[in-house]
């Protein structure tokens, strides 16, 4: 099922037409159902409560609203926990049914892209094991990490195209007592945020209309298996992915464009851990400084683990070289949660971010010191042993409110 050169040239030599009937790539989902009909795989069906969106070439993609199994991100949970807690907090505000599982591993794709100390069969088996764990619960997987999302979509292509790989993965999954199961759609959390954006705006308690933000679209969201990302003719004329930008606009934020929007953040997988001279240079010189020079935003927003980390953490060292830096970095989920009144520290967890976020909160009219003092009270109680930790009971209630413009 390898794509021929002729098919590739046909695809690339015409303007993008948003018509599923003439889409230039195969619809991988049809191939999944064909394999299922042959008894080769199981396809987990989309929950009844879902919304349909349009992807790059005009195909329809289903996004589940609830009954979701949350495939967490190791980088988010490990280093930016407010990213994860904001995603769950948003679900909880609407009483949506979700699972936060303990039978999930990371995709291990970060390591694979960093060191290649793995192989195709291992990567596919890790993915299918996670999908099988979701399938066993009946909940539909929702992927928090952009790299997991892109990596899994690429592995899905490989599994469909290469029978030997399917056979090998099936052999391993048999040993684990699990089926070779793939979900009907591979869904990124930011797609859920995208389809929920108007509902978020209905519950908005913090006016964000004075904020100018730039968007960094995550490479592994829309460059890998590009045809599966959400596009909307009303956002950038349908020439760039609509996720994140549409969400910010729904929340009343002014999204400003900048010339290096297509550039990656500089993460580099191995580089960000052990060769950060490259990561820092790229993040500052090609992204942050360009944004600063061209639009001087109050905030930059993205939708992936590595992008938040890289863009946020790289700014400190650049100050020593008098570079133009100082743009706080958040995920779309954190911005949405803040807009709906989430506690800046119990939920959004600003204190794990490095670039100064205080001017942004000041501009929103949020008395962050008050909330920080409250949070310090929580920490004191934890230290004293009178409180075991912060729970959803402490965090669920929206607490921040400013005047929202009509």
């Amino acid at each position: 099922m390898t794509t021929t050169v002729e098919e590739i040239l046909e695809r690339k030599s015409h303007a993008v037409v948003r018509d599923a009937q003439v889409a230039p790539t195969h619809d991988i989902r049809e191939a999944l159902f064909e394999l299922e009909a042959k008894g080769e795989i199981v396809v987990q069906r989309m929950p009844e409560n879902h919304v349909e969106v349009t992807t790059k070439f005009g195909r329809t993609k289903k996004i589940p609203i609830d009954h979701t199994w949350h495939h967490k991100s190791c980088g988010q949970c490990g280093h930016i926990p407010g990213y994860t807690s904001s995603i769950f907090w948003l679900h909880r505000q609407f009483g949506l049914d979700y699972l936060d599982p303990t039978d999930q591993t990371s995709c291990t794709g970060w390591n694979y892209y960093a060191s290649a100390t793995s192989n195709a069969a291992a990567q596919a088996a890790v993915m299918v094991r996670n999908f099988a764990a979701a399938y066993e619960t009946g909940y539909f997987p929702m992927i928090h990490c952009g790299t997991s999302y892109g990596h899994y979509k690429e592995i899905r292509e490989q599994l469909v195209h290469h029978k030997e790989l399917r056979d090998e993965v099936r052999r391993i999954l048999d040993k684990l007592g699990k089926p070779l199961v793939l979900p009907e759609e591979i869904v990124h959390y930011s797609e859920w945020v995208h389809v929920m954006r108007k509902k978020f705006a209905e519950k908005q308690t913090v006016d964000m209309s004075m904020i100018t933000a730039t968007v960094h679209p995550a490479c592994h969201y829309y460059k890998i298996v590009a045809e599966d990302a959400i596009y909307d003719p009303d956002i950038y004329g349908g020439q760039r992915t609509a996720t994140v930008t549409a969400t910010l606009e729904a929340l009343g934020i002014n999204v400003a464009d900048y010339s290096t929007w297509f550039d990656c953040c500089g993460f580099g997988f191995r580089h960000v851990l052990v060769q950060r001279d490259f990561t820092r240079s790229f993040a500052v010189l090609r992204k942050i400084e360009t944004m600063k020079n061209e639009v001087n935003p109050d905030l930059t927003v993205t939708h992936d683990t590595g992008c938040v980390t890289t863009l946020d953490k790289s700014q400190f060292a650049a100050k020593a070289h008098d570079r133009k830096v100082g743009i706080p970095v958040l995920s779309d989920a954190q911005v949405a949660a803040l807009a709906m009144g989430a506690h800046p520290f119990r939920v959004v967890q600003f204190h794990w971010h490095s670039t100064d976020w205080r001017p942004f909160l000041d501009k929103l009219g949020i008395n962050w010191q008050k909330y920080w003092d409250e949070f310090q009270g929580d920490l004191d109680a934890i230290r004293a042993g009178t409180k075991s930790g912060i729970t959803w009971e402490d965090a669920d209630k929206p607490v921040v409110s400013t005047q929202v413009h009509a």
């Binding site: 960093a114 191995r270 090609r286 953490k313 920490l379």
Partner: protein, 235 residues
Amino acid sequence: MPTTQENWNPGKAANRHPEVSYEEKERLFFEVKNDPRYEDFLYGCYECGICVSTCPSARFYDYSPRVIAQAMAREDIERVYDIISEDIWNCAQCFSCLRCPRGNNPGGLVTLLREVAVKNGLQETKDVLQGYSRVIYKVMLKGNQVSPDMLQPDFFPDWGPWVGQFSANMPVWRKAIPVDTLRGVTDAAWKTNRKTLLELYTIWFETGNMDIIKEIDEGLYDLLADVMQEELEEG
């Protein structure tokens, strides 16, 4: 240096690694080319340079995804050996190069080249990955690439004084996260149950992933294999 008839080499690359036989270089090349994914990643090359213009690594290193696609397509064994022993570790794996109008995937080619470099234990690859072993240890044993306790000032000095705060406050700050699977966890990104970790170890052994680790770092392999085998035997 001006280009002259003598130094201009429009053909295949010169032998820059005479210590490695041509046969060995050719063997590595065909190991890459025979990967089932190879034919999905390379369809030829227009030499248009679109991949280079979008490549972050090309801006900061002597690195070109176009050269990689070209060398592979032309079966330039010597050049491919230069690439596999040096260039591949510069790639940021962002896959911006998928913008290729010919449908090539230079980032994917790099992945295949890296896999072969690792599997064959090339010395340059061992050198590059030397400082990275602790991360491999974490991801293979815990199923997470990073964990909160990795946020140490000596590991991330350039991330500013906040890293010291993260580190000093870690046990308490991690308890102050409302997500049940994260609360209080510092040595992994989230709580993973034991059965899941045993399944992960089974995958590493069954797919030959542990053999790959052994090739690249025998000490690391011994550490990992000891722990995993003991856990698997306990069941």
